[in-house]
Symmetry: C2
Subunit: 377 residues, 2 copies
Amino acid sequence: MRPGIVGVGMTRFTKQEDRRPEEIAGEAVRAAVRDAGLGPEDVQAAFCGNVQLGMGVGQSALRELGMTGIPITNVENACASGGSAIREAVAWLQSGAAEVVLAFGVEKLTQTAAGMLDMGRASLSEEVGLPLPGAYALKARRHMDLYGLTREQLASVSVKNRANGSRNPYAHFRSPVTVEEVLQSAPITDPITLFQCTPNVDGAAAVVLSTEERARDLVSKPVYIAGFGMASGNPVDETGTEGDTVSRAAKAAYESSSLGPEDVDVCELHEPFTITEINNIESLGFCEKGSGGEYVEGGRADINGPGVAVNPSGGLLSRGHPLGATGIAQVVELTWQLRGEAGDRQQDGARVGLAQIMGGNVIELDGNACLVHVLTN
Amino acid sequence: MRPGIVGVGMTRFTKQEDRRPEEIAGEAVRAAVRDAGLGPEDVQAAFCGNVQLGMGVGQSALRELGMTGIPITNVENACASGGSAIREAVAWLQSGAAEVVLAFGVEKLTQTAAGMLDMGRASLSEEVGLPLPGAYALKARRHMDLYGLTREQLASVSVKNRANGSRNPYAHFRSPVTVEEVLQSAPITDPITLFQCTPNVDGAAAVVLSTEERARDLVSKPVYIAGFGMASGNPVDETGTEGDTVSRAAKAAYESSSLGPEDVDVCELHEPFTITEINNIESLGFCEKGSGGEYVEGGRADINGPGVAVNPSGGLLSRGHPLGATGIAQVVELTWQLRGEAGDRQQDGARVGLAQIMGGNVIELDGNACLVHVLTN
């Protein structure tokens, strides 16, 4: 049974210091339920992705919407928490436990103040003097050494995603940048500059899912979850570049959907730093290992370019990365793309979408919860 | 498909200041996998219940056991986190996503220092000057007013559970207490005294589950999850006593198992304070509303008494309550009971077990994630 996505909604991802997390989450959940043509009383179970807000986030947010009584479960898988909330919602649907479920995610980084730039402080990488940007910078340096990745190619990821984000009213950064501006922005850890890092923002996103049968009844343009893969593992391989965690999750998702990388039209992937997009493009099989930089710089990842449109939303670099919400926002964007409702950033004729999200943990840097969902219309 | 429980294990719940959370969790997981006659490589997905240890607890613990590569997901539902970890494991089995899965929970309250006595500080109850014991004391007072609950009946819960715990090598408190000792222990919030509060301990528990078919192959005495219910809601009803969250979860669990309260032989339920056991005995339908105190004081909840053996492990009051681990430990104890392996605390001929766990959150006091599992052999 392919679960259907019948409603999506999100807040703009941006600084929202004045709003409580419950208000932020509530805006996204209300929008998703309304988008499905349902009322709060139609949702039979809910899953909340969150990292930093503490106990019972999902319950607090839904109580304010009057959505009490139903099973509510909070899921934490670091940056992949939103993807995991969707996954648990799908498992309930596929197990027959419910017909209409909600997955949402929320984070308020302006309150908890530990986004990707800070998060390394809680990790082993910090213990050895290597906060997260430094760890990713090392991966970038190794890619340069082994495959000839250039600084301009790295910067081209930010240029593309900021251009895409300028067309997305839900994105934090709405202004495009040039390669020169990216390279000349504040140095963080060479070769990573400030404009190659995701901003710390607040936000929420929500998805209402149903059984395949209910989806056909509920909405005129359902989107389906056609494949899924999940893996953990070492984020670094023996050569010092990307490990096989993403590629193993992708392989499972492709196999379960009977689709391959050549079928994907549009992709939302995890790029807290520019190097991550390049590694993930390779791991997802959109190009050969080592050629991700050329793929982006050459325009193949552009909307309506010759390859897979990668991060048409603007991705983490432009839309922003409120941890628990990001994996949900990816599926929101893909749903809009597969419905043909993505406005100025529409990938024409998009039929197959892929969402990839990765969560780290306090010991190693990333790679310990990677989820890939393949979506079709 | 009824999932099977094929392996269980736990650490003693007690002060374990010298051990890292990963070591504590590892001991329980290794024991459960070995109990199933499996190796770490046989587990296809894992779910970790934890409240206070921060990001990526499940991944950190399993990495030390070499259990990498597989999907690992952390679940947080306050005191009910362990029950929710089991639930998500079951959903994966029933959805067909895996055949052998692990659910485990771990907490180190001597490190994070926020057990039930302290937790109210983070809740609305604290903002209005009412930490958790005070909130439960109010419920106890209301039960006294409405139904004539006595202080001696409250104390008899601790007496029973400490007697049970004295027979359980995994319990923190191994010494029995008398009604007088309970009533004369330090006052916390009248009528709740110190010996009516769960101790802050460290510990982990783990369960290996499989599809029904695999369970029959793997072990000689599989235990099955025959029913499940989950609810959220207001913890207090209009009379000021227990709301209907537990009874709604129980109703769903009974219906899905085609069993009723009259079929239950042995029960592990959530009693951070004595009043909670009395309320839950009533909500689960073991006796009429208002008569839970008489039920316990009269010995009906004793092991091999005339009613349901309640908390033969010693429960939260004697075994202790390392938050994320408790819901798992309940199922571990019931598995031993249904296998006939519970030693000195065996309920003779136990065929049907029930586990009930409730998690609160930072806004209201409890009742926002209640899970009930019905087990059979």
